[in-house]
Symmetry: C2
Subunit: 308 residues, 2 copies
């Protein structure tokens, strides 16, 4: 399908940032579409959510459903099943969004394509995702009060995960595949002061075991022999991979492939905005993504007003 | 009352940014307080709200109530009636928050003190606030579909208000007290193209008239004679005043008195964060404030972790 219509805006993605942008775009009367592989994104996979302001306790599926319902209330139906291959900048500065559903032409584009966690790639990891395996300690850590947990990783994210878990869980194991941490010294020092944290270096995770829920983690130690620790939760913090490869080649990214944005959610490409986890914002949270989606949309509106 | 306890964090303010920061602070187990003159802030005065993601339609009082309930769910009771006079930076880099309720000592402070709209100071303005008088076109403009409205002001905010209203309302009057606009030319050009917008220059608003709801606006024209226009809504865009005077004297502010923050919601003062409308973020929206409150809190947590 070729779509020759030039939209004011194409929003790529289908989670909190896309929802917030879509709600504001509808209220501002823009000619726009939300296109996404599937609706819900990181929100829908979040399990229990206690930090969406105004809702004491919900879950990812429910909140994503409310987001979709809110868009529908404004007559916006996200186009799902659309996999964007590439966004191209046209000679006139407009955009061509190439997808498996044909091309979309647009004056502005907001990228809210999120991230995916780097996986360990071990047995049991996919099976026990959200059944003890988590990639977000801030989100899911509070669910493991008094339990035994493991953090896998060796950078700041893993250190912060382990520090947080040490205040919540009974026993925290840190499984670091390297001989030392790559994070900030002060975090390492603080972690070493904790008396319920056991750090294992040169430890390569080999399997995640469980029945209904995670029961243990297996790893090879520095001598190559396999060990098993009993844990209820496993927090994998070995990096996130931003879904940014489809951004125009002109787009400035940081060393992690995250799209660089300023406080207005503008990228270096005029008319191209980004919001949420795909950007270089340091904190990946639903409400931050929603705020950024709104910010990106309002910046896009100002850009369109100046174009008219 | 003197409070000698040194808190991890004092959050000053009681609206969306404070709520989001408070929820995350509680989940992270910080020793903190929320202190505010009154809870609800700009949210509570917003009238109908259709752009808080996940809730199709609500109102400011209800949403502010949900925010407070969410804090209480985590055992956080904002201290209301607290008017902060000044935040001081101590020689050791910690903070002393001086208030009518005594002093609070803290390692970190998040300022979410918001803004107040600059008022016209004319008869009827206070009486018809939220009964036709609004200070936020993005928030309230959609409620005036097909009606007659006036925007008062002459800067970009007023121009954007009038441009937005021209797509929504039947007739838009722009009352500019100066002989020309002070905003961007392209916005002025675009406004001049609209055929349902009537601009009056050198017009000084003198009174807002109504019964249950606004019915008209009176102004003195350039010759000094009083005119009256029939309108259902009046959007006052003559500037916002950030509530930033209580920030430490060391705090960097922009030309409007807004507290400068980076993408991490850090100010130039280590340990001092700001979020929401009191900052130099260009877009003043509830969900943006909530996102920034979360961002500020997570930055403060990282700072505290590095202090330990």
């Amino acid at each position: 399908m070729e779509n020759k219509e030039v939209h004011d805006l194409i929003i790529i993605g289908g989670s909190a940032a896309a929802t917030a942008a879509g709600i504001y775009a509808a209220r501002r009367g823009l000619n726009f579409k939300i296109i996404t592989k599937d609706f819900g994104g990181e929100v829908a996979t979040s399990g229990e959510i206690g930090n969406w302001p105004g809702i004491n306790k919900t879950d990812g599926i429910t909140l994503a459903g409310q987001f979709k319902e809110h868009l529908r209330y404004y007559g916006v139906e996200p186009e799902e099943g659309v996999e964007v291959e590439k966004v191209l900048v046209e000679p006139d500065g407009s955009f061509l969004v190439k997808s498996n559903n044909g091309n979309y032409a647009a004056k502005t584009v907001i990228m809210t394509t999120g991230v995916h966690p780097r996986e360990l790639g071990v047995t049991g990891e996919k099976e026990f995702r959200n059944k003890g395996v988590s990639y977000c300690t801030v989100c899911d850590g509070p669910l493991f009060a008094g339990k035994n947990v493991a953090t896998v990783g060796g950078g700041n994210s893993a250190l912060e995960s382990a520090l947080m878990l040490s205040d919540i869980a009974s026993q925290v194991y840190v499984i670091n595949k390297n001989a030392q941490f790559k994070g900030d010294q002060i975090l390492i020092d603080n972690l070493n002061k904790k008396n319920n944290v056991k750090i294992t270096y040169d430890a390569s995770t080999t399997a995640i075991i469980g029945d209904q829920f995670v029961t243990s983690l297996k790893y090879n130690d520095s001598s190559g022999s396999e060990k098993e620790i009993k844990v209820d939760g496993i927090f994998v913090h070995i990096g996130m991979v931003p879904n940014s490869s489809l951004a125009p080649d002109e787009t400035a990214k940081d060393q992690f492939g995250q799209i660089k944005v300023n406080a207005n959610c503008e990228t270096n490409v005029p008319g191209l905005y980004a919001a949420g986890d795909v950007t270089d914002t340091p904190h990946k949270q639903i409400v931050i993504a929603a705020g950024m989606g709104t910010c990106a949309l309002l910046s896009a509106v100002n850009y369109l007003n100046r174009m008219k």
